[in-house]
């Protein structure tokens, strides 16, 4: 199956500016499978260096400072890393913003 991954802000920059990737996965793949594929095959880093400190996207397998939406729903409100993906699903990845 094919899943569209949309990357934004400095996560997009970390992958060379590519804003949208079509990722082929096996039927029945989960969010964990997608994120592993992005890390192993597409260069999604565990952390992104900042001028001061780092943005920690992952800690081990756990997603840390990254918002992950599947078809507009936060994956933590679905089944987390076990969230099943379907053909045509759209997954958005962006860093959390909180300042004001």
């Amino acid at each position: 199956m094919k899943v569209t991954v949309k990357l934004f802000l400095l996560i997009r920059d970390a992958l060379g500016g590519e804003g949208e990737i079509e990722v082929r996965l096996n039927s029945g793949a989960t969010m964990s499978d997608l994120l592993s594929t992005l890390r192993e095959e597409y260069g999604l880093p565990d952390e992104i260096p900042l001028r001061r400190g780092v943005l920690k996207l992952f800690e081990g397998k756990e997603v840390k400072e990254m918002v992950v939406l599947k078809d507009g729903r936060n994956f933590k409100l679905l089944e987390g890393l076990e969230t099943k993906l379907e053909n045509g699903a759209v997954v958005a990845l962006f860093p959390p913003l909180f300042g004001g």
Partner: protein, 241 residues
């Protein structure tokens, strides 16, 4: 009825949406949480647009390192309560509107009272803990909530209509860890102006809002994107409401 002065002052925007809608702005009441980076441009542009009553709440004092972005305040205001300079600046900008600036820390004990009776709530906060309080208050009182957040050259905004759209908790179930954040002042300007535009459109009922849509501003690369959002039917803040 608009006065002769108001017809002149708002002439350029009345050309867009007409006198009746300008009266809607005159009769509108907007609550702004924060007189900082986002609160500054939002309050300035809403005051300039003629929102009849603005309440702005902030408990902090002006510090020197606020001044790269918090354009309500000036050098001479450092050390003073932000609400003092906010009130002075907004009243000088538009003497025809009512401005109320309250120096209070928002918490679960006062938030409902603070937002009671307002038509719109604007997020000018710098942490998600207080944002969640405001989110729940907006849902409880059925008041449109205009979210914004920034970091560096990046920003986001969405318009939350209780009972209709994803709320803040639907999108962000957990808060990011609170810390100081880097920011270029103009980023606050971009997002604050988007929030102000959304409020005006909502009040005068023109255009389409950022409902179930998270706008992402990438100032570093000059890109704007939108992500579609969905309500969480089991949301601890808004489900069933």
């Amino acid at each position: 009825m608009l006065t002769e002065n108001e017809l002149k002052r708002y002439e350029r925007q009345i050309r867009i949406f007409g006198e009746a809608r300008q009266e809607r702005l005159k009769n509108a009441r907007v609550f702004i949480a924060g007189a900082g980076g986002l609160g500054s441009p939002v309050s300035i542009y809403l005051a300039a647009a003629g929102i009849g009553r603005i309440r702005i709440v902030d408990h902090e004092k002006v510090e020197l390192n606020n001044l790269n972005r918090q354009i309500l305040h000036r050098d001479e205001d450092t050390g003073k309560k932000k609400v003092v300079s906010a009130l002075e600046r907004l009243k000088k900008l538009n003497p025809d509107i009512q401005v109320e600036a309250i120096s209070e820390m928002m918490d679960e004990n006062n938030v409902l009272e603070l937002v009671e009776g307002f038509d719109a709530i604007v997020d000018g906060l710098d942490n998600f803990y207080t944002r969640y309080l405001l989110n729940r208050a907006a849902i409880a009182r059925n008041i449109a909530f205009f979210h914004g957040a920034i970091n560096g050259l990046y920003g986001q905004a969405t318009t939350i209509i209780p009972g209709k759209t994803a709320c803040l908790r639907c999108i962000f179930p957990e808060p990011p860890p609170p810390t100081t954040f880097p920011v270029i002042g103009a980023t606050c300007g971009v997002i604050g102006c988007i929030q102000a535009t959304e409020v005006i459109k909502y009040l005068v009922r023109i255009g389409s809002l950022l409902e179930n849509s998270l706008l992402l501003w990438d100032g570093l690369n000059g890109k704007i994107d939108q992500i579609k959002l969905e309500r969480n039917p089991d949301c601890i803040d808004c489900s069933g409401k």
